[in-house]
Symmetry: C2
């Protein structure tokens, strides 16, 4: 990491009264004060207009309150301009440029101290609570955080329902006043512990009538529960709602303690929201010294077969009372519908090797899948016990010979306690068998039974797993874990997470085309998503057996997702046989990188469209992806990001004129055109469609 | 294990009505029936008198009830007479002789099946519920078990208060009708989650007006919560009370499932209660194939120093906010009162080597002791991070050179979840540093926060730890774990547990002399206790600094405890300097074995006195221990257990005539006498006193 710092620290002792700082550009103005009751308050203006009006700040614990009675003891300000180089990501260098204001608060009777630290960037701001060692209690049983975000009008909201255990929802596009109806329209998710009231989750997006976009989320969630938002739909206010454990406690804190950063990414240009690295900037630098083993990758896998309606299963047997570790799987009657078997996995390895795909994920390889009574037993899976039809030594050697990496799968059935007990053995077993990456899963209700998926203990568990994985030089792609908050900067072996409604839902109700037009504005601001793009057979009735799902996408759009949903670990989710039916289109998946030196967001509007260009980290090639919602669209692709005077050949993977996600999804064309920095390309996108372009310098 | 079996199995189909079997001797008669509502009931007679009158049996779960509507479908009976050889214990061979009755129950609407399995021995009985795979639900969310024990009169009870989290209480000697007052007399234990009502714990002892003794406990507690007893003090009934988790669920069960055995050890001779191996007999055979590494042992340790009132601490520093893994302990200011330091530990190693003591326990060697805010943080201790003043490589090599084994200490602060996460590393760290045994501790409120010390998850955790330890060939002495139920037969690396008010309380309020006269009748029926005998400096005012505690014991009695409190791992708890003040008495601790080929209980009355003789497993030497309560007593030691005609020399360590636990505890004498099988020795025991005798064949 290279760092350039220009820092000026000013300590000012104050008697009272408001303090303000601005963003480096001056567009964002932050004011902080305490009110007559000593309650800390803040407000935010953007380009001369109030965005967040006076909003209260505070924490409440059983032992004491940090909510009122404060006076401003002193303030510290500093300006920082530095940059850092991520191990992987959208940019090879990230600028971290902000003005910082630390407001040191004191209270008497009882004595309390609290620092509010704000960082104002050109693209938004973050703030956190810092609790120094106190004269009073230094352990807090935190019941809540009262962080308000008071907006001034009935803005548009893009959000999903508040939930302690899942974020696999479609987004609503609504307003403050429309939120109750929007939330009522959700059917209760089977895993969900829906909160009462008008509660929503972050990351979410807000858009004002003036066309100002605000992404609300948090950064560096560690040792603390996830934050939901309680929405006052009449006064246009939001208040933090910390996920409690099942006993009602939000967090156990030992001081000194800093909360996660509460973040607002702000711009009147939607493209800036997508380009923002604010959440990463508010995370700690990389904690892993040697990162040479962290390698972005593409993979195929034994996975989608279980979603195509052909009755294939993760389980080896249909005896749902089989018990891992007690059942003799070598004698259990196999169901004959278990694709995680040696012959089938060999076919995936062959396919990966032939097409330069780095890895092969295999789900359903280990004992325990027969019985999905998660939460109801204290041992569900074994992580070092392959099923008898999965010849691990053979496959390990076969994959190695073919130059392909097997990717491990650890489904825990949400028994995080049992996973912790098996963790060292599971990771050692991986290394012994030449695995470098694992996909984890937490489907079901959490054990320890005091916990939710996003309560403090589980946040700690997720970090423990990542740290332990790093000890073994293992990369992680976690599913059903607490949604990302930029911790992948600190732990770059945390390649991706699910933490949203992913591609799998194309076989369970479908994802409308707009879904991938809102995820980059919301969920992706926390970190990469394992969305599993690359679906070529989008009409699942192809598989017969009563399946009628139609994915909300054209084939060409699936290629564009590799650009619009950036991730250092990207699946090619479909079956090899489907890729073999469309080898020319599959060529794009073979070519597209997963790590970038630069990114240019060309067009963007939430829920509607995204066009982005990215430069390969390891060549001079550029790639462009464009997607639209359910409406056809003409993307205007401005190639001025190319170096002046250089000539390129663009290979365009596009929807055919008659393509349509619903009626004609597999109609695509591939054409080549010459482009340079002066090119302005009008690119047709079908309803639910997209375009993917590879741009290669002409020699 | 050698096994002799005489088994006859009889399957009988019945329409209805009572079934009875007797113990092999015929003294105990068991009757089983279903009542008019189809509720299973049983009763027990002893020597022609009713002991337990008709008592209900049943289980209740959220999914269905196993409490009524039953008919007896069939019964199976079998007589078994076999024996087995424990890895260690009071006997080299244990006879397992019983008649078994399996009552197969069926119910309609909904269909349910339940087997009640009874085993009736000459010294008592056990029974359990067996839930086969059902046509109905095969997962149960168990809310309770309704096992009644209906007694017939206001019997005497020896028991401690019901508690979900601790059993470190003094015993009450009371009656059914006196129980409420007895329970009210307890001050609330700081760690205790006292249950409401007249609830008591097992193991407990009952004595009828006819002089029949009954020990009530359970055997083979695994995958199930511990059982307390709710006492109906007016009707003299008891009902099982399963420890729930903090969400109110007793157990999550997957069928088939067998509950632990509910056990009654019954005799009109108190000595039979002490001699009974019934609880071990009801446990599964040894699950560890190679047990050669399991070695009974004696040890000294850096431990009592922290109890003697001299302000010595487990912690390296007095900074109570220090955080293991985050604090730089090499820079933290040491408090200078930390006995787990290299020089001091070397002295203990020297002492052990000089005196043939096998091991040296060191408490306070690892990071984390500064901060005892257990339950309030998710990481308390590191188990592979020695304090900077504990030079582990040096001590490892020094101990090895001296032929002494260091014993590890893992205090978890009751954070079982974090211990599970660190377990493999902790055990590997032990093996890397030549440790073979660990003392575990769970002081505080349990994490996972859904759990109690004795709820189902923690019972599973304890078994997981023992199994994992066995994988590393590590022996375990667990403190604050679920009290033992004979699982040490199955896992003989589980050498001992605390699970009662131990010797440490001599510095925290004291243990009256009667305490060790009731523990063998109660707590010890589950398995060995790490009571930590060997206290020579019993008057703690010796150490000054305001300490006034006087242990309820003479010095000679402390020697007798090595016989009356048998354990394969015995501490010599006092400071080396105190042993050096009384080298002739310490000779007994050097000599006394910890593993036996035979045991003869010569005299016994609960809360009053115990006299026992044991034969060394590895020689022809016998040892005798006799203790009394607060009253002086003359023990009558009948040496007829010696082989006829053989001559022995007995070395008697006895209270001096003027010894008294309170006023003159260190007055002891050592004398030698010749004994043979005809010797009847009248042995004086002082108030709170005892005698220990080594009996060696004359060559």
């Amino acid at each position: 990491m290279r760092t350039f710092i220009t820092a000026i620290s000013i300590g000012v002792a104050l008697q009272a009264s408001a303090i303000g700082i601005t963003s480096p550009s001056g567009d964002i103005v932050l004011n902080v004060d305490v009110d007559a009751s000593g309650v800390p308050i803040y407000s935010v203006d953007y380009k001369g207009k109030n965005l967040v009006s006076d909003s209260r700040l505070g924490l409440t614990a059983d032992e004491t309150s940090f909510a009122d009675g404060f006076r401003i003891e002193s303030v510290d300000t500093v300006t920082v301009d530095r940059s850092w180089e991520p191990v992987w990501g959208e940019y090879s260098t990230v600028r971290d440029h902000f003005k910082e204001l630390a407001v040191n608060l004191k209270a008497d009777n009882p004595e309390r101290a609290l620092t509010l630290r704000f960082r104002v960037f050109d693209d938004g701001l973050g703030f956190r609570y810092e609790l120094p060692v106190q004269k009073g209690p230094n352990y807090l049983t935190l019941r809540g955080e009262n962080t308000q975000f008071n907006y001034t009008d009935d803005h548009k909201l893009y959000c999903i329902p508040g939930d302690y255990d899942t974020d696999e929802y479609l987004f609503s596009e609504t307003t403050f006043s429309g939120l109750p109806e929007a939330l009522n329209s959700y059917r209760r998710h089977s895993e969900a512990q829906r909160t009462g009231g008008n509660t929503i989750q972050t990351p979410m997006l807000l858009k004002t009538g003036d066309g100002v976009y605000v992404n609300m989320h948090e950064a560096a969630l560690d040792g603390y529960p996830a934050m939901l938002l309680d929405v006052d739909t009449e006064n246009y206010d939001m208040t933090s709602h910390l996920v409690p454990d099942r006993l009602g406690v939000s967090a156990y804190l030992q001081l000194p303690f800093n909360t996660p950063w509460r973040t607002l990414i702000i711009s009147d240009d939607a493209r800036d929201i997508l380009a923002s690295q604010l959440v990463l900037n508010l995370n700690e630098p990389c904690a892993i010294e040697d990162t040479s083993w962290i390698k972005p990758m593409k993979f195929v896998g034994v996975w989608w077969e279980m979603f195509t309606g052909n009755q294939k299963t993760w389980a080896y047997s249909d005896d749902h009372l089989a018990r891992p570790g007690e059942t003799d799987y070598t004698k259990l009657t196999p169901n004959g519908r278990h694709p995680a078997n040696t012959d089938n996995v060999k076919k995936y390895i062959d396919f990966a090797a032939e097409n330069g795909i780095d890895g092969v994920l295999v789900e359903g390889w280990n004992e325990g899948w027969e019985d999905w009574a998660s939460y109801r037993k204290n041992r569900q899976f074994l992580f070092d016990a392959p099923y008898p039809d999965f010849d691990l030594p053979l496959l390990r050697d076969y994959a190695k010979e073919k130059g392909v990496k097997l990717i491990m799968h650890h489904e825990t059935a949400a028994n995080a306690a049992d996973y912790a007990l098996q963790l060292d053995r599971a990771f050692q077993f991986m290394k012994d068998n030449n695995y470098d990456a694992v996909k984890t899963g937490y489907v079901g209700a959490i054990i320890p039974r005091s916990e939710h998926h996003t309560s403090q203990w589980m946040v700690d568990h997720a970090r423990d797993v990542i740290e332990r994985a790093a000890d073994y030089q293992i990369m992680v792609d976690s599913h059903e874990a607490p949604r990302p908050t930029g911790l992948c900067r600190t732990y770059p072996n945390w390649l991706a997470q699910e933490s949203a409604r992913g591609g799998e839902f194309e076989s369970m109700g479908g994802n409308p085309p707009s879904h991938t037009c809102i995820l980059p504005f919301t969920r992706l601001k926390g970190g990469p998503m394992d969305y599993t793009p690359g679906l070529f057979q989008t009409d699942l009735s192809y598989y017969g057996e009563g399946k009628t799902d139609k994915a909300g996408t054209t084939l060409a759009r699936q290629l564009a997702l590799y650009l619009t949903m950036p991730s250092p670990i990207q699946m090619a989710c479909d079956l090899p046989e489907n890729y073999n039916r469309f080898p020319d289109a599959f060529q794009f998946i073979k070519d597209v990188p997963v790590d970038w030196s630069d990114s240019k967001y060309l067009e963007a509007e939430p829920n509607k469209y995204i066009t982005v260009a990215r430069r390969d980290k390891h060549s001079d090639d550029w790639y462009v992806g464009a997607i639209t919602d359910g409406n056809a669209r003409t993307a205007l692709i401005d190639f001025s990001f190319l170096p002046k005077g250089e000539k390129y050949e663009a290979t365009i993977y596009e929807d055919a004129p008659d393509a349509n996600w619903e009626t004609n999804p597999q109609a695509y064309r591939i054409r080549k055109v010459k482009v340079d920095s002066r090119t302005r390309l009008k690119q047709h996108l079908a309803p639910g469609g997209g375009a993917a372009i590879r741009v290669v310098p002409l020699k």
